[in-house]
């Protein structure tokens, strides 16, 4: 047992070192989307920023070691303080900076389930990893059930809860005047999405989230995915159709009582692998996730 602990702690140190190496090289890239809206890319989930007379409003915050660089990037946009931070969901690559932002005075807002997940140790079963609990200063102070709207910087930004999508606490954020939507991790642009079925995500919820966003956007809308490059409605629609088709393929096999091995062997994603299968998740992994979701829905 002791040996195992020593081994574990060594592993942890190596992991920590690898982590800091990994973050040392990260640069924050700022892209201006509209008069008041910006996209910040670094390592982890894409960050949305609204900056204007009323202050700065941030969507997601990547990892703690990047907070200083993220704040520097924001400073280059605006000298106003960060007043509000919204988390699109609980995952560590979107909430890692929470404690830093909370201590700096930002009011953290998220859907009710984000607070629940961050308050306790929570596993991502698929990656056999666990996180939290997040320190008190990093927890959302105000949570909402369905929608909240920020009346800021000449815009109305509504965070809309989309149930059981990537997790059970996802929000997409719609800037009405800016015509921009931040999708959180309900949208991975150009790569198969991870769906955290262990915290009640589902493919059906992912498709519904995309439909919700498609209904409030037009051909000139800018769509920020959780991961991947800035996107648009046509690309989101292609993603939505990919999800629906792969789900239909897998669900038919689940209905026919095929095993996971049989489903993977049948390559239910093969028509899409060239476009979506070269990212974070390999086709087999994505098929496994879709299978898990289809089984859960039965």
């Amino acid at each position: 047992m002791k040996l195992a602990l020593v081994f574990l702690s060594m592993l942890f140190c190596m992991f920590a070192a690898a982590q800091s190496d990994r973050f040392d090289k990260v640069e924050i890239k700022t892209t201006r989307l509209t008069q008041n809206l910006y996209l910040l890319e670094g390592e982890g989930g894409n960050i949305g920023v609204s900056a204007g007379d009323d202050g700065v409003f941030v969507i997601d915050d990547q990892f703690a070691p990047l907070t200083a660089r993220i704040l520097a990037a924001i400073k280059a946009i605006s000298d106003k303080p960060v007043r509000f931070l919204i988390n699109t969901h609980w995952h560590f690559d979107h909430t890692g900076g929470n404690e830093n932002f909370g201590k700096a005075g930002a009011v953290i807002v998220a859907q009710d389930n984000v607070k629940k997940r961050l308050s306790t140790k929570t596993a991502i079963e698929f990656f056999k990893s666990a996180y939290g609990p997040t320190a008190a200063a990093g927890l959302p102070v105000i949570t909402f059930k369905d929608t909240v709207t920020f009346h800021l910087n000449g815009d109305e930004a509504t965070a809309i809860h989309v149930p059981n999508a990537h997790t059970d606490g996802d929000s997409i954020i719609h800037f009405r005047a800016g015509n921009v939507v931040h999708m959180g991790d309900t949208y991975f642009n150009g790569l198969y999405p991870f769906i955290d079925t262990g915290t009640n995500g589902s493919v059906k919820g992912m498709i519904a989230a995309a439909d919700r966003a498609l209904a409030i956007t037009d051909d000139t809308s800018k769509i920020i995915p959780g991961h991947g490059p800035l996107s648009n409605k046509a690309e989101l629609k292609a993603y939505r159709d990919m999800l629906a088709k792969v789900y239909a393929n897998v669900d038919a096999m689940v209905k026919a009582r095929k095993t996971l091995a049989q489903v993977i062997a049948a390559r239910p994603t093969k028509d899409y692998d060239a476009k979506w299968g070269n990212g974070f998740l390999k086709p087999d992994q994505f098929a496994e996730i879709v299978y898990a979701s289809a089984v859960k829905n039965r």
Binding site: D54, V107, I142, F144, V148, T149
Partner: protein, 300 residues
């Protein structure tokens, strides 16, 4: 009809006078309701106060000239800053201090419809009110469609939309651990409430519905902070429910028979309540607001 108009006119003047009292004379009374919860009484709606390590949260803020006095009363309770303000609805006697608090950096939160009302002119004949849009600093910076929960001061405070009742944007605020609820103006304790029935706002049947949803959430130990009146209990809410149900039933019947407002008022649908409950608000004006829950209101 003319006589009624005179009565209404007299009432309105009385109301207007009540709306512009000499605020200099108003004293703020601070009442401890639970470990971390206080009520401030002054002029206007009761103010709920949550204090603790995370700072101060206010529920409603009465009238602008009273803000300095509220600040003083809060200082006497805690040296923590005021960080959050929730408005239970858009009426002047509950949001009057918003601009002061907003300028002081307080985050104002309310239901979506409160924002809508505060950003447009509101003409309410029955309340003798013509309220222009509020300045930006007075507006909620965040609004919700259903509910929000504050995780502060060792408690969970949920502000939740209740049925269209006193207005179309009423919220109650529930302190989960402390077992306290601030009802806004959906509940007035031991007195007739205002029902803002114009402009597609509230109605007496909505009040009944909201109260019927409130009662099952209360137990014998719940402290109920009404919009107006003293800190109350479930028993008081049940008594209020009975009064509302009585007047709604009687007035609805008369209205459906085609009786005019004057006839309904003359029928004294609140006869057994008037002596006790009519001390704070004139019966006739209340009956009028009940009546226009069943007959569409038309400005005269």
């Amino acid at each position: 009809m003319k006589r009624l108009l005179v009565i209404v006119g007299v009432f309105i003047s009385g109301y207007a006078a009540a709306q512009a009292p000499n605020f200099d004379a108003v004293q703020i009374k601070s009442i401890k309701v639970a470990q971390n919860i206080y009520v401030l009484e002054g002029q206007g709606g009761n103010i709920g106060v949550s204090v603790g390590e995370d700072g101060v949260l206010l529920i409603d803020d009465q009238f602008a000239p009273l803000t300095a006095k509220h600040q003083e009363a809060i200082k006497a309770i805690t040296d923590k800053p005021v960080r959050f303000l929730i408005n239970t609805h858009y009426h002047r006697d509950h949001v009057g201090g918003n601009e002061n608090w907003g300028k002081a950096g307080v985050m104002i939160v309310a239901h979506d419809n409160v924002y809508k009302r505060m950003t447009t002119t509101q003409v309410v004949h029955l309340l003798n009110a013509n309220i222009p849009p509020y300045p930006k600093a007075a507006l909620p910076v965040m609004t919700y469609n259903d509910r929000v929960t504050y995780h502060i001061n060792g408690d969970e405070l949920t502000a939740y939309k209740v049925p269209r009742s006193h207005t179309d944007g009423d919220s109650m605020v529930r302190f989960r651990n402390a077992n306290v609820v601030h009802t806004g103006d959906v509940f007035a304790s031991g007195r007739y409430p205002v029902i803002d029935v114009e402009n597609n706002n509230g109605s007496v049947m909505g009040v009944l519905k909201a109260i019927d949803e409130l009662i099952p959430t209360l137990d014998d130990f719940t402290k109920v902070i009404p919009g107006h009146g003293p800190v109350s209990t479930k028993k008081d809410v049940i008594a209020y429910r009975k009064m509302i149900h009585t007047v709604a039933t009687r007035v609805e019947k008369l209205a459906k028979q085609g009786k005019t407002l004057e006839q309904v008022v003359a029928a004294k649908p609140l006869r057994e309540y008037d002596e006790e409950w009519g001390k704070f608000r004139k019966t006739d004006s209340f009956v009028e607001m009940v009546y226009y829950g069943f007959v569409p209101y038309k400005p005269k």
